[in-house]
Structures are given as C-alpha cells and as structure tokens.
Subunit: 345 residues, 2 copies
C-alpha cells in the first residue's frame, strides 16, 4: 500500500505532567508487510494513563524505556489491510499494541509478552470495546473487584477515578455482586454520569465540602477501596475504611510525575498507622495478566444490560498529544478516552 | 495479704520516643480479692513496644487511651496468691494483662476482649515463655510467616527488628518451613546472635556499608518481608523485593512517635511505585487474634529443638521505665525484653 502516514513520536521525556509539546507528529511512508507479517490500519487508539511511565527518562529500575524519536506505545484496535500470515485475513479486526500511528506492521510469530494481536468478533460488541470493557480496563476492573477485592453482597466499595475506564466498569461490577458502589470523581458532570451508570453515590473531590459529602456517602464505612489514584483522595479514604478492608491498587495517577519522593510532609507514617490499626490488605495488580475469565463475565453482563460502557472519543491522530496531556490535568471525559484514528476500510 | 506494693503509673503523655520521666513509681496497699476475684503476684512483665500507643495523648480515633496517673498496661505472667474463684487455685501460674505492678486483682468473669487469665503449664516450658515464644510474640511470628506470609520452601524471607521477640522467632519459623532467613538488626552483637539462632544472614543497619551488605545477603531478592519497623529500613528493603512479594506488617517502631505525618520528603509515592511495579501484597495483622494453632506449632518445634527463644531480663519493677524507653533508642537486647518483678512465692 503506497502512500504516506502520520505517527506520533516522543520529542521530550516528561517531567511532572506530560505536555502536548513532549510529542511530535511525523509523516513517514506506509510500511510494507514482509514474510509472515501483517499490515494493520489503526482504527482506535486508547490513551491509557499508564503510558505515562514509558516517557519517564528513568524507570524504577534505572533503565530508560523509550528513546527520544520513538513512536509512542499504546493499545490499539486495527483492521488487517494486508496479510502474509495464515492466521490473519484482510478485513479481520484485532486488538494489539501498535502505538500512536496510522498503520503498523506486526509479525505475529514474534509477539511481545502479551501475545499476538487478539482477533475480535465485531458481532459481539463494537470493536472499540476491546480497548475498554472487553480489554485491559475491563480485566483490571474485574480483577480488582472480584479477585483481589473479593467483594461480597452488602459490602460497600469505594472507587477512585471512578469516571475513568477502569472505575466506571468496576462500580458496575460491584453492583452486579450485590455491593454498594461509591465513586469519587472530579466535577458534577462526572458524578452525574456515575449515578446514571448505577453508582449508589458519587462524590466530587473538587467540591469545597468533599470531606462532609464523602462521610455522608459512607455511613457504614468502606470494605473495599479500589485505588487508581493515591495522593489526597486516598488520604481522605483511609480514615473511612473498615477493619479488614481490602485495597486493590491498580494505579496512582497523583504520583505518576513525582518519582520516588514527593514534597513533604511524609505521609508514609500515617499510611502504616491505618494499615496496622485496621488490618488493611493492600495489593498492587495489573489486570492485563488476569486472563479471559473476567472478559467473559463482563461480556455476559453487557448482554444482560447490567454493564454499560461509556467512551469519550477525540477525532484524529493529531489530537492524541493534547488529549493525553488532558488526562493528567483532570479532564472532563467519562469512561474510556479513545482516539478515532480512522474508520474501517 | 496486708502490706504495700509498688506500681508504675503514667506521669506524662509521650512525645516522640518515651522517656523514663514519662513514668512514676508509687507505693500503694496490696489490694484484697473480693467475691469471684483472684489476687495475682506479678512474676514477669513484658515491655512490648506496642504499649507505646497507649501513652499517646490521642489515638488514631482521636480518643485518649490512658489517663495520667493510671497504672501502665502490659502483659504479665503471675502466680495466684489468693483465689475466690473456682477456676483458679493458689499456686497456679497465669498469663494476663495486669500491667506494671507487683500485685493485681482480676475478676475472671469480667475479662477484656482477650479473655480471662490464661493458665500456664510450668512443665511445658518456663512460664516466662508465655510472654514470648508461647505468647503474643510467638503468635505474631507464626501468623506473619505461616498465614499472612505463606512462606514456601526455597523462598527468601527478610525480617526487620529481627533480634526482637517476634523477629527472632519468625526467622526460626522460616527456617523450619525450608526458607532462607535474612535478619536486619542494629549492631554486630545482635547480628551474631541471629546467626547463632540459625539465620542464614544478619545485616547490621547501623553499619556504614549496610546497603552493600544487604544486597549481598539477597542475591535472589526477597519473597517475603516481615515488617516490624517501617522507616529507613523498609525503604532499603523495598527495592530488593521480588515480583509478587508478600509484606506482612506487624509493627512500625520507626513511626510510633511520629503521628500521621513525618518530616518530608513524602515517601508515599515511592511506596506506591514499588507496590504497583512488583504487585506487592501488604497486610497489617495482630497475632494476638491468631488463636492457639500457632502456639501449638511453636511448642512442638521448641520440643524438637528447632526453635530457641532468647530472653533479655532486667531486674525489678523499678527498672521498667528506663528499660522501656531503651526499646525506642535501639537498645542492645536480643529476644524478648522482660522485667523479673518477683520470684515465685
């Protein structure tokens, strides 16, 4: 397929919150599929907050993850437009990690730790859901609520970043399990959207009376806290956790730009005090390793109308840098933030 | 029983580390046992670091635990010297929580959450072990290594405050389970004592080359970290924990005097980063709720010579305030710190 395509590369390592100027858009030739390779046309690109880690100059290990000038990582849904591999046919839809570009070559036999591109059934649900409810965010929500959180009927579940892709599904799973779901989100619009999704209460952490509202939403405290945030929000949740509460941890957006040490005071002593006084159980986890079971559960619940999945769409690859930066400055979207890169062929 | 006795009362709420001047010794008449009460003569008093919480002016809940002038709390082993209760006879030995005094009245029918005084079999082991290996510290070590830590053969277990009552037992339990035990303690004498107890390695956190020594002691990282300390020691352990490591938490002596916030920088962002990057599992627990199973295991292992239990003894109730304060300034004792209040009648 001759012609040119656009891609987004890393122009500068991020310091603190990412800025649109950390990225650069390039025009390059569309590549050609070699032996046992396939050419994918990107339809949807997911702007996962976790990508933030890839653009630190140093990882926790001290290694550098991305080189300047490299194409940005990111989960995508694509259409196969040329195939030299027997497992993939032109017209197939796949979910993969081809990054911020309009076309990409993949060699399914030489795939990364997540395996070859996952073929999607467009009859089951819109293919974009492979980046949300029926993809990594859905797996994370299921793992956090069902497996790590072990939510039981009648318990109260608090979810931070509740209007995000993981949070919005997690609250609905908690409801399916017979628990009470309380979401924390920024702004009245997000809170309204959460109540529309079935959350029993949604509290605006930007409101002046957040502390009072939050206490009122938790008359019996909380038994599970799905933490995707850290920072001030978590410090407000800790005093309301019940004895033996579980705290599945799947992200900490408040600290992504901070590194190992933030400005004082040191909140670790208080964190310890809560863990010990209440016998808390905290576990970090990554849903992408959770397997198919969670996705099957969610697909079933979606069919029964028990789970709805909101998507916020920005148009065109060129919008990706600004939309990604907005994730870290408390943007207004609800659900999964997607870039519609192209319509299907 | 006519006569006078001594008791230690709280003279001032502690700020930071406790000082001997926070306590005062009083002379009072020996009380008399009323209906269905027993009179206990204190033989042994345990100086548990956790008592530190009782002498804060405010607990986490905002409540005040102890009043000024009240007799200090504390676990004790006593002899029954007068009994008006059918379940206890003169000459029985019991473990209870009668505090820092030479005699105490107990009403077994009106006992606290830990139940009536526990009768001891002096033929099984010296009665002082009811405050250590066969008491709360033993339960805590067992719960941390066996139940919360789920230590498996071939794993590496790191233990902070390893020369303390909990740590010294915990390391030996890890060895019984077929794991490698690495202890962290302050000073070469304590480290030598740990190696004598069978620890595979013991590292002195006060040594100038602690970081290098510690890394050398963990060529394959650590799978379980029994944390009794927090603070700088834990910050040194975190980078060496393996993926999926468990971190049972039974205390945090580095923060007991700090309250909710310590001086900056804020170490909570780095703590989150480790939890997420490695999928750590952290759980606060209190061994005293762990039941009899752990004590039976330990008693069996002691009989087989697989677990030895060091005790450090100071003489006389009047020595308690200074000995207790020394716990927080890194004193040199190994094992359980006990006050011998009296010999048996």
């Amino acid at each position: 397929m001759a012609g040119m395509m656009r891609q987004v590369v890393l122009a500068a390592y991020a310091r603190g919150n990412p800025r649109p100027s950390d990225f650069r858009i390039e025009q390059v030739p569309i590549p050609e599929a070699g032996e046992r390779e396939i050419l994918l046309k990107t339809l949807w690109l997911a702007l996962d907050p976790l990508i933030r880690f890839s653009i630190d100059e140093k990882l926790l290990s001290g290694a550098t993850h991305m080189q300047l000038g490299e194409v940005m990582f990111g989960p995508t849904v694509s259409e196969v437009v040329a195939s030299n591999h027997p497992d993939y046919a032109v017209g197939d839809f796949v979910e993969g990690r081809t990054g911020w570009r309009e076309y990409a070559i993949v060699a399914p036999d030489r795939s990364d730790y997540r395996g070859p591109p996952r073929k999607l059934d467009p009859g089951l649900a819109p293919v974009s859901t492979a980046l949300g409810a029926l993809g990594g965010p859905g797996q994370t929500a299921h793992e956090g609520i069902v497996t790590v959180g072990r939510v039981k009927p009648g318990e109260t579940v608090v979810i931070s970043a509740a209007a995000g892709a993981v949070g919005s599904i997690a609250g609905q799973i908690a409801k399916v399990l017979g628990a009470r779901a309380v979401g924390i989100a920024g702004g009245p619009d997000k809170c309204r959207a959460l109540r529309d999704l079935g959350f029993d209460a949604a509290v605006d952490y930007k409101a002046a009376d957040f502390a009072d509202q939050f206490k009122a939403a938790l008359p019996d405290g909380a038994d599970v806290y799905l933490d995707n945030v850290g920072g001030d929000v978590t410090l407000a949740v800790l005093p309301l956790l019940n004895r033996g509460a579980r705290m599945p941890m799947c992200g900490y957006i408040a600290y992504y730009g901070v590194g190992m040490e933030g400005p004082g005071p040191d909140h670790l002593p208080g964190f310890y005090r809560h863990i010990m006084a209440k016998g808390l159980e905290i576990k970090g986890f990554a849903g992408i390793f959770a397997g198919q079971k969670g996705l099957d559960d969610i697909a079933g619940w979606m069919k029964q109308g028990k789970i709805r999945f909101p998507e916020a769409v920005v148009e065109g690859l060129e919008a990706a840098p600004e939309a990604f930066a907005s994730v870290f400055s408390g943007n207004a979207h609800v659900g999964k933030l997607l870039v519609r890169v192209a319509d299907k062929a």
